[in-house]
Symmetry: C2
């Protein structure tokens, strides 16, 4: 049987590198990495070439014809691009349709959430879905919950600080909202499973490794480290106030990326802890199927195991170049 | 077991009267009809009262609190309002959430179609869905294809003219596109089944009575009547030209309802005959489940039986007050 051909956009990004690793580990995929021309000389791109990977260069804003030429013979396109860039892939979607790509996996890999003003990043993604659907292009939308890597509080000893991008020491609304969580490495591994399976074609699929409240997360961290966490409490009113402030900050200075991150974080807080959108129940309510049931043999890392890794210095801080 | 309480908005409309009849025939529902205050003295409303039905008056623009008061104790809300009015129900959706309504059936009852510029009426409906989802309100979205009542060509003898709103004598792109079709009376009957079933809660459901191309429709009509149809041919270019013309006409005179109907008809033509959206395959692609499989014992009228009714003078012309 010939290998499934995958065209991966964003292979050097946070989620993309997890996907690339899993596709290569699996062994049944022939991967082409699409890299922006401007990034051609980055060390991360050189590393792809050093591995003998097929790398093609271009821009997502290239003409549909040019992109379609790159997609000849491709079975599956996977996008894992910078969240705030979602929306630039319209030409690639047209090209995928033109080149008869069988399955388009848009940039998802986040938390389920209704459309229409709750989370700006979700609304961007849904417009991309419309573009796919309008072309009757085969698709799989994959959402995975929130990464373990950005779900942990810091501990007083500072031993987690090397890997903590956003310390989660604010306990929101009593810390009782359940949330779907996942290890970043499992995002890639389960994506490799999902795109090999016909049951996931033209479906929204959710998966997660654990479902925990903030209180449960904090208990696990305290138990594993023996440290007493320093926590503060936030109410819904605090979350909404933060959201209003960040909305204004982004309006005042739309080019400020740190403000965008903080606004996005505030929207996540509302969705995850106040609205409680990031659960299997809401995912299914929104039309997703349960990927855990489709792949019962796949063993996701549990959050408690992730904390072992965190304590042992084995976790990589996400987005090393971004400070919030 | 107590009866399911249904709050029906649009009971005197085309689809609404089919739904009301089916709910009453079924016998297991307690129906409240919501009527616009301005329509209180219409004969059609008096007929509802004469049947002993519970009728409440208000406006969909009323405050959420007032509407929520009307919804106390209601299990299911069904909206079947004038298609161009879709979008006015935001307050009712909030009210349904406030009153803990178990299932909200938004105004659907049309053809499946992707969102994002193909059909204006679909895009209006999808924004309503967003409002429902944002509240985590229980829902069932029901689509049924296109009515038999507006799918027939006229015959030269004129014997169908009493019931034909839009004669379908233009054969588009060779007449080979399959379309899901349904008798209007079946829309109500299957809706009654759907809202009694837990399997349809928080789902998009499609049903249809027949799947036919224009050529198949025309063969059935010729065979049943013994008349030779007078047909003309239209290409995709004709459909797009018509669409452009009607878009301009609506832009020039947004208050002209006939233009809106014709624009909508042109969008339907593109979706049904050029894009071929109105099929079970595309419905499932868009996330709908197949209501025919859920209710295998329900016998939908076939289009050929409908043509018997049409020939026998037993069909009512839809929208008797609208001329195109």
């Amino acid at each position: 049987m010939s290998k499934q051909t995958v065209f991966l956009v964003g292979a050097t990004g946070e989620t993309g590198e997890s996907i690339l690793r899993a596709l290569l580990d699996d062994g049944s995929f022939e991967v082409t990495c699409f890299i922006r021309t401007a990034s051609a000389h980055k060390p991360s791109v050189q590393r792809l070439k050093d591995k003998g990977l097929k790398v093609v260069f271009g821009e997502l804003s290239d003409s549909t014809e040019n992109l379609a030429n790159l997609l000849v013979g491709i079975d599956t396109v996977i996008l894992s691009i910078f969240a705030f860039d979602v929306g630039v892939e319209a030409s690639l979607i047209q090209a995928a349709s033109m080149a008869r790509v069988k399955r388009f996996v848009p940039c998802g890999f986040g938390t389920p959430c209704p459309r229409g003003g709750v989370m700006a990043l979700r609304d961007l993604k849904e417009v991309v879905h419309d573009q796919i659907f309008t072309l009757h292009l085969g698709y799989t939308i994959i959402d995975v919950g929130y990464w373990y890597e950005i779900s942990s509080p810091r501990v007083p000893s500072g031993k987690f600080d090397y890997a903590i991008m956003v310390p989660r020491n604010k306990v929101i609304e009593g810390g009782t909202a359940p949330n779907m969580l996942i290890a970043k490495k499992d995002v890639g591994a389960i994506t490799a499973r999902i795109i090999k399976d016909d049951r996931t074609l033209n479906k929204r699929v959710y998966v997660c490794g654990d479902i925990l409240t903030q209180n449960e997360i904090n208990s696990i961290v305290e138990e594993k480290t023996g440290e007493k966490l320093e926590l503060t409490n936030e109410t819904t009113a605090d979350v909404r106030k933060d959201l209003d402030q960040m909305n204004r900050a982004v309006q005042d200075d739309p080019s400020n990326l740190a403000h965008k991150y903080r606004l996005s974080n505030a929207q996540y807080n509302l969705s995850k802890y106040v609205r409680i959108d990031n659960t299997p129940e809401i995912a299914e309510y929104l039309g997703y199927i349960d990927g855990r049931k489709l792949f019962p043999d796949y063993v996701f890392q549990k959050f408690s195991d992730f904390v072992n890794d965190l304590a042992a210095g084995r976790v990589q801080r996400p987005y090393p170049h971004v400070s919030l």
